[in-house]
């Protein structure tokens, strides 16, 4: 046994190093396994002044535009575009402009029919200020909330007006793959809120059960339960 002991020791060190290598490998492959949910490339708000920025996003009724490679059934999932991971500048007034192409599907909870947390307590719906949208007319919400025990909380919730169910698909949208896709004419929703100091991360989500056309509790599955579609993160950071 003694003559083996140095061999065992070297083997032991190799085994432990190899083991931690395996752990790292497993971690990296879970991180890159996009089928389990993923974080798309960061989309930065466009700075429009020293303390102002604009975030342009759209809400799409399917994933053809932003997830062109997605397999069935993901390709049919509703999705925010062009990303769900946003960077915002700190201590700024952020103007969010959402082009909303989807039709209305209603809410579980009336709480989310109010415009909350925006500057002035209103949002502009096709240039018309409103502080509430009727339950049945809501397609999605854009709701920013804080992480647990956040010291600089942000809570913003804006219901997005749905397009008419029978609206003709007459608007061209250029997809990530360069193809043109036809959608109804979007509603433009615009609102503003303040960001706090840099270095804080928030999450946002949609609170309309738009994940599936089956009834409760199905609406929050699929795209609603997978990051990269109807849920994401917001980093307040200097860039």
């Amino acid at each position: 046994m003694r003559q083996h002991s140095s061999g065992i020791f070297i083997g032991l060190v190799v085994a432990i190093v190899l083991g931690f290598g395996i752990v790292a490998g497993v971690a990296l492959s879970f991180r890159s396994a996009s089928g389990l949910g993923y974080e798309p490339a960061v989309w930065q708000a466009t700075k429009t002044g020293p303390n102002a920025a604009t975030l342009n996003i759209s809400a799409m009724p399917d994933s053809q535009v932003c997830h062109p490679g997605a397999p069935d059934p993901e390709i049919g999932w509703v999705s925010y575009c062009p990303s769900t991971t946003f960077d915002l500048p700190p201590n700024s007034v952020i103007t969010v402009i959402v082009k909303q192409y989807d039709s209305a599907s209603g809410l579980y909870n009336d709480f989310f029919q109010n415009v909350q947390g925006t500057i002035g307590g209103v949002a502009m719906y096709n240039n018309k200020p409103m502080n509430q949208v009727k339950d049945a007319d809501i397609a999605h919400t854009f709701t920013i909330q804080s992480q647990p025990d956040e010291v600089n909380p942000i809570f913003v919730s804006v219901p997005l007006l749905g397009v008419a169910d029978d609206a003709p698909s007459n608007t061209n949208v250029t997809g990530f793959d360069g193809n043109q896709y036809q959608y109804p004419k979007p509603n433009i929703i615009q609102f503003q809120f303040h960001t706090g100091p840099a270095g804080h991360t928030y999450i946002w989500h949609c609170y309309v059960p738009c994940g599936n056309d089956r009834e409760t509790p199905y609406g929050f599955s699929g795209p609603m339960s997978t990051t990269g579609f109807m849920a994401g993160t917001i980093n307040v950071t200097n860039y």
């Binding site: 432990i16 083991g19 949910g37 025990d149």
Partner: protein, 649 residues
């Protein structure tokens, strides 16, 4: 059954490559994949045609693919071979055919076939358990990595939830079979003096069902994962749109079937295959532990299967067992699940505790302190544990009055558990204690089990559970019982029986290192999580909230030690397999029957006649000269020794 006639049979056979591969696990996998594709495509076409808007039912397709995989895998591996030949009362299999099925003269390749020899099945279980533990521990390290700092630092929440669920399910399934599978199959029949299990082909079936469930479960990674954790609570599991959830449900169906088959086999074996003189009062305690465990699993697992069939019905056929909006109830799932879920932890515990008792007697060189008391303790745990499940629903909002009987029953379990501790301490007390790696793991088990058991009191008692339920305290508690106690018990058995099973000696230095890294890392990790739980950290946190950051960072640092221990353990196994020293037939000086047969154990275990048993296998000190105390006192003390009672049958 005689071993002399069969040598001629082997000489006739010259297996070609094809004969080796068909039937074997290779042909099983190939055919299984083909079957899965055929079934999946078929159901895809059918559901698309039936659907009004031409959309296939993804859940139906997934379930069909799994069924196709199962059926064709078992055709490919040869599970159905011989039905025509030997079935329908045409003729019995000849002894030579039986030995062929048992893997005679097939070398290492017999481990990759539908081999009926209980020792082959035991080894298959052993290495499967080790691999699954390795995979499951990877999940654990991913969890500790993510929780090492606040925020979603490494994985997005859906990935994290899938990792938690996979870690939990892999570990639960593995711990259920970890002792009854390898040692219950390899050691138990020899211990009771049998040549094989009662139903050798069912034995092979139980293992290969477990094997075939593994790819089913891992397929969840490619089907979107599942968000529910290992408990799979409905209606979240019904809501989940991705077919990754079906992998979870189907794993349980296959796994629970496998365990049920194995359980029936073990019970029958112990009932009818004990050798002459092996009365119930002379059974080694390990046999008691395994038998009680599998009896418990026979009562518990049907509701596990039922619950998942109902979830699959809800998912595939849009029934509404668990959907409140359509008249169902989530409480139904919780009850069905925990009716399995709590007895199941005792399914895990009983054989591991019994294995530890076996090890303790051997390394103290003393008979078990109160064999009958300890067995009564195990029986008491087995009986009481059937009715404790409701404590998982203390905070479910059900009528409070329901909680009292569950609470009483849960607390009562501490009494038989106390008997077990009395036996363990009494066995060690004044023994000639040989501190070996198996005994170290027993000591670790006892220490962790005390912590796990006592923290269980707080969770069993209503007023304290009110502040702990669903929190990290629960996580830490059940890791202390399941990992700290039962997995340590498994490793005690592993280091103890490995020389008999594999024929080589595990390196004691590496084993000691494995133990200390594991124990220190373990107590540190979950000790810190107890604190986090007391501060209110919820379970399943993809994102650790800032108040719990310190405790979680400490836990993650200690988890590095656990990781190192896993690699040391794995290295020890691989090193031993490659260049370990050959082990003696009676490696430790134990007296149970498995140590009386040669190593490696011959095909039908006992060469020649089966042994006749005349006493308990713990008659240490029986031949001692007059001990230090007066003879009257010693005889007074041992008059209740069971080895002297219990008449012949």
């Amino acid at each position: 059954m005689s071993s002399t006639t069969s040598t001629t049979v082997a000489e006739v056979k010259h297996p070609t490559l094809f004969n080796r591969l068909v039937p074997s696990v290779v042909s099983g996998i190939v055919l299984g994949i083909i079957g899965a594709v055929i079934a999946g495509v078929l159901i895809n076409k059918i559901t698309t045609a039936l659907s009004p808007d031409s959309v296939p039912n993804d859940d139906a397709v997934t379930v069909a693919a799994y069924l196709g995989w199962l059926l064709f895998f078992f055709i490919g591996i040869g599970a159905f071979n011989g039905i025509i030949k030997w079935g329908f009362n045409r003729h019995e299999a000849t002894p030579a055919e039986e030995l062929e099925l048992a893997g005679k003269d097939q070398g290492l390749w017999r481990y990759f076939r539908y081999t009926t020899d209980h020792k082959v099945v035991g080894m298959q279980y052993l290495f499967t358990v080790l691999v699954l533990f390795f995979l499951g521990s990877m999940g654990a390290f991913m969890i500790r990595l993510e929780q090492s700092r606040p925020g979603a630092i490494f994985f997005d929440p859906s990935t994290y939830n899938t990792i938690v669920g996979m870690h939990g399910m892999l570990m639960i399934a593995t711990t259920i079979v970890m002792v009854s599978g390898p040692f219950g199959n390899f050691i138990l029949p020899i211990m009771i003096g049998a040549r094989d299990m009662a139903f050798p082909r069912l034995n092979a079936l139980s293992y290969w069902l477990l094997f075939s469930a593994i790819p089913i479960f891992l397929s969840t990674l490619f089907l979107g994962g599942f968000p529910t954790g290992w408990t799979g609570y409905a209606p979240l599991s019904v809501q989940e749109l991705t077919p990754g959830m079906d992998a979870y449900c189907f794993l349980i169906l296959v796994f629970a079937t496998s365990t049920t088959v194995a359980a029936m086999n073990i019970v029958t074996t112990v009932l009818v295959m004990r050798t002459k003189g092996m009365t119930w009062g002379r059974l080694p305690i390990f046999v008691w532990g395994v038998v009680l465990s599998v009896i418990l699993s026979l009562t518990a697992f049907p509701s596990f299967i039922v619950s998942q069939i109902m979830v699959l019905m809800d998912r595939v056929f849009n029934t509404s067992f668990f959907l409140a909006a359509s008249g169902g109830s989530g409480w139904l799932y919780e009850h069905l699940f925990w009716f399995m879920g709590h007895p199941e932890v005792y399914v895990i515990a009983l054989p591991a505790m019994a294995a530890a008792a076996e090890v303790t007697a051997v390394f103290s060189r003393k008979p078990l302190f109160g064999y009958r008391v300890m067995v009564s303790g195990l029986i008491g745990i087995c009986v009481l544990s059937v009715l404790v499940w409701g404590h998982h629903l203390y905070t479910s909002g059900s009528e409070n009055a329901l909680a009292a009987p569950y609470m009483l029953d849960t607390e009562l379990i501490s009494i038989p558990t106390g008997l077990f501790f009395l036996g363990m301490i009494g066995t060690l007390w004044r023994g000639k204690i040989w501190v070996t790696v198996p005994l170290l793991f027993v000591v670790g088990m006892l220490v962790n089990f005390v912590i796990g058991g006592i923290t269980g009191i707080y969770l069993a008692d209503l007023p304290t559970d009110e502040i702990l339920h669903g929190g990290m305290f629960v996580t830490a508690h059940f890791h202390f019982t399941l990992v700290g106690s039962m997995v340590f018990g498994f490793f005690a058995g592993f280091y103890y029986w490995f020389p008999k099973m594999v024929g080589k000696r595990l390196n004691p230095m590496l084993g000691t290192l494995h133990f200390w890294l594991f124990e220190v890392g373990f107590v540190g990790t979950f000790g810190a999580l107890f604190y986090a739980g007391l501060q209110g950290e919820p379970r399943w946190s993809a994102n650790v909230a800032p108040p719990f950051a310190t405790a979680n960072t400490i836990a993650s640092l200690f988890a590095v030690l656990i990781a190192a221990s896993v690699f040391v353990g794995a290295y020890n196994v691989i090193y031993t397999l490659v260049r370990g020293e050959p082990a003696d037939a009676d490696e430790w000086g134990a007296k149970t029957l498995e140590w009386t047969v040669p190593t490696p154990v011959p095909l039908e275990n006992f060469e020649g006649e089966l042994p006749v048993v005349t006493s308990l296998p713990y008659n240490y000190g029986a031949s001692l000269p007059e001990p230090v105390t007066s003879a009257a006192e010693i005889t007074g003390a041992i008059t209740q020794a069971p080895m002297q009672t219990q008449g012949q049958e």
